[in-house]
């Protein structure tokens, strides 16, 4: 207990310097936590996807559609329970910066396949009955202040023209990582309009979503589906939803990598700052260490004193930083909700933060300790300031 008291007293002998160092560590821990959370947000789609659902797309690439009649064929494959399908609509509300994901889907099978989208029963009924109806996420509704029965107009970038929808239902996410900022509407609506405007492009879907009867069958079902359409005009590629989402993340992998590297750079920056503080502290106290040595305290004691002081500072900074991370995340998730619909702090981040704080504390103390131990008593006593 006494040693702890000594460490604290020592740490706060120069209040200004320790205060500044603490602030620095707090900022670093905060930045590190936020960056890790940002990377987590990037992978949120992967985390939220299920390994028991399959996605079938055109094998050439995702921009090529699949014929609508594949649905019945897929349904016949052994082990397939539900088949649903959708098309990326790519509509824009007003300006391009108001981006949100919007899909045309087959509503009944879709809601069956995705139980994590929770709709009140009466709203669900209203949505199913109205071909112009749409379901929107809670966050999206809050962002644009859309209520039930509002009319929303999207401008198509892939499917030209202005498209009117009626908000019939607002869904809530069942899990914490469910994306609550998406927009779904009836695939039939899209298809019927296409029949009038672009007759050559009808009865096409972007991808199929498939639920299997037992999770362990997923692999076999995927192979069976792809074999079914081999050598057809539109060959398919079926993978688990997780792999499908991972593919998207992997495409922007270089940026995730850059953020990851940068999140470690901040640790180095702050390591330099703390090491600086410790270097100055020990330089000032060289005389004291010499006295301690004279009294018979060994190198081990001095090492413990310097390392302990360094750790006291970094761990306090860690606590402050973590305390600041929570409100900061809240602010950011409000500001950047458009790009990152799911923005949660993971337990692993806090743990990594702690490791980082310990590392900073240790590394920063190494050189100063080495200097303090090596100095000879006579030299230490002779030195001033």
């Amino acid at each position: 207990m006494l040693i702890l008291k000594v460490l604290f007293r020592n740490a706060f002998r120069n209040k200004l310097r320790t205060g500044l160092t603490l602030l620095g560590i707090t900022i670093a821990i905060l930045a590190f936590g936020l960056l890790r959370t940002l990377i987590g947000a990037w992978y949120a789609g992967v985390e939220a996807s299920s390994a028991t659902r399959l996605v079938t797309r055109n094998s050439v690439s995702i921009i090529f559609p699949l014929p609508h009649f594949y649905k019945d064929k897929i349904q016949q494959v052994n082990g397939v329970k539900t088949v649903s399908y959708g098309t990326w609509f790519g509509g824009v509300y007003g300006e391009e910066k108001n981006f949100f994901a919007n899909f045309a889907i087959e509503p009944r099978s879709f809601l069956q396949l995705y139980p994590e989208f929770v709709l009140p029963p009466d709203e669900k009924e209203a949505f199913l009955k109205d071909q112009k109806g749409c379901v929107i996420g809670k966050k999206l509704a809050a962002k644009f202040r859309w209520k039930r029965d509002d009319i929303v107009t999207l401008k198509g970038t892939i499917f030209l023209g202005n498209w009117d929808f009626v908000v019939r239902a607002i869904y809530q996410g069942r899990d914490k990582d469910t994306d609550e900022s998406q927009f779904f509407f009836h695939w039939n609506y899209l298809n019927e309009i296409q029949k009038k405007t672009l007759p050559g492009w009808t009865d096409q879907v972007g991808y199929y979503m498939i639920g299997v009867t037992r999770p362990e069958l997923a692999g076999d079902v995927a192979v069976a589906i792809d074999r079914l359409f081999k050598n057809s005009l539109a060959e398919t590629l079926t993978e688990t939803e997780k792999a499908f989402q991972q593919g998207f993340v992997a495409m922007s992998g270089a940026i995730v990598m850059a953020i990851q590297i940068v999140s470690f750079v901040v640790i180095f920056i702050i390591m330099a700052v703390v090491a600086n503080t410790m270097a100055m502290t020990t330089r000032e106290r060289i005389g004291e260490y010499a006295i301690l040595k004279t009294l018979g305290f060994g190198g081990g004691h001095i090492t413990a004193l310097i390392f302990g002081e360094s750790l006291v500072i970094t761990i306090m900074g860690y606590l402050l930083g973590v305390a600041a991370t929570f409100p900061a995340t809240k602010i950011i998730s409000n500001e950047l909700g458009t790009y990152f619909p799911v923005f949660n702090i993971e337990r692993e981040t806090l743990f990594l933060n702690f490791i980082a704080a310990l590392c900073i504390g240790f590394v920063a103390a190494i050189i100063p300790t080495w200097r303090a131990i090596k100095i000879r008593i006579a030299d230490g006593l002779r030195r001033i300031g």
Binding site: L20, I158, M251, G253, V273
Partner: protein, 388 residues
């Protein structure tokens, strides 16, 4: 008389470890700052250099990239009658009708699929893009299933090389050449005969029509003609503008990310500088008193300490930029959100980034040093001299 600069240098040298740590903290901040700006700059430079000012691109109205655009054969024929089109060496009109589709290919190393642009070209496409140079093999014969690939594709994707076969759309495409388009987006594309692609991918419309203006100033004429003709539900842009627009969101994202990161980091580095300068002042109270007693003014002391702190910032800036300049050797390849396809680009340093990085470093030094310097200059001579 001002305090000589040598005083500052010597002082920094005496406290080598502290100086080194402070400078390296600042250098890291400048490094991150410069690198991210270089990344955004590289992306934009690549896409801007892809297009040329004298070429014009026609896309379907409302579509912002070639991937989702469509120009019918009828519309293309109308465009062909425009008088503003430049003539080629054989007397032909320099207009090309192109088709763009995305195919998923597997990357080397990670084996992860990524979307690559497949561009169907006709005999005029290469006249419109003089930056394209064949580095290996030969050009594809029109009317055959032969293709050429960009250098960045050849380098980064699996099983791409001369005489390799690429399989998509139930056909085998033979790679007969590798082309280099310098630092442009075309280096990340695959080119082949447009008619073959249209048939294979069952497209009945072109993705875009591109022609070269015979006189650069006639762009407005073309634009007003397009807008006045109800048959042409098209949009026209200069080619360089079209590609510049594609880099906008991504470059903005990178810049915002970069600037917000560095602001947070710079707080850390400023604190580092402040700690150093405060202790520099605290350790030299007697010295400051002596200087004052010798007749140096308060202002001189203030300037001396500020200079010392700016010197720290300057060293940090030079070091950071020095290491950042090596980043130019690195090429990264990622998906452009706007076109949904792979694009390779390198970090690119320009004088503006150097100025900004240097200014940033000096600001960090200044902010870190100003409070300690004021404290130093406010000291009372007698008290300062009495201090041990």
């Amino acid at each position: 008389m001002a305090i000589p600069l040598a005083y500052n240098f010597r002082n920094l040298w005496t406290r080598r470890l502290t100086t080194l740590l402070t400078v390296s903290g600042m250098a890291l901040v400048v490094f991150v700052f410069a690198s991210i700006l270089m990344l955004a700059e590289g992306l934009q430079k690549t896409l801007i250099e892809t297009g040329s000012f004298n070429n014009v691109v026609f896309l379907r109205k409302g579509s912002n990239s070639e991937v989702v655009s469509g120009v019918t054969r009828g519309q293309a024929s109308i465009l062909q009658t425009f008088p503003e089109i430049a003539m080629g060496p054989r007397g032909q009109k320099l207009l090309s009708k192109e088709i763009v589709v995305l195919v998923a290919l597997n990357k080397k190393g990670s084996d992860k699929p990524s979307n690559v642009v497949l561009r169907g070209m006709d005999e005029n496409s290469l006249f419109l893009r003089p930056q394209i140079r064949l580095v290996e093999g030969r050009l594809p014969r029109m009317g055959s299933t032969e293709i050429i690939v960009g250098t960045n594709i050849a380098r980064r994707f699996k099983d791409i090389g001369i005489d390799e076969k690429l399989c998509c759309g139930m056909r085998d495409w033979r790679i007969v050449g590798i082309f280099d388009a310098g630092n442009t987006g075309f280096s990340s594309e695959i080119w082949g005969d447009e008619d073959q692609f249209m048939q294979t991918f069952r497209r009945s419309v072109y993705s875009s029509v591109i022609f070269k203006l015979r006189d650069s100033s006639e762009f407005e004429n073309v634009k007003s003609r397009i807008e006045g003709d109800p048959r042409l539900t098209l949009e026209v842009k200069r080619e360089n503008k079209y590609y510049a627009d594609q880099s906008e969101i991504m470059a903005k994202f990178l810049r915002i990310l970069g600037i917000s990161l560095t602001i947070i980091f710079s707080l850390g580095a400023i604190i580092g500088a402040m700690i150093t300068m405060y202790s520099a002042v605290a350790n030299r109270i007697a010295e400051i008193g002596t200087l004052r007693a010798l007749g140096f003014k308060r202002r001189d002391i203030l300037i001396a300490f500020l200079l010392e702190s700016l010197l720290l910032g300057f060293l940090g800036g030079v070091l950071g930029l020095f290491f950042a300049s090596f980043m130019q050797l690195i090429t990264i390849s990622t998906m452009n959100f706007q076109t949904f396809s792979e694009l390779a680009f390198s970090f690119s340093l320009n004088s503006q980034i150097i100025y900004m990085g240097m200014a940033f470093a000096l600001i960090m030094g200044f902010v870190g040093g100003v409070l300690p310097a004021i404290r130093a200059s406010r000291m009372i001579i007698v008290d300062a001299l009495r201090a041990v």
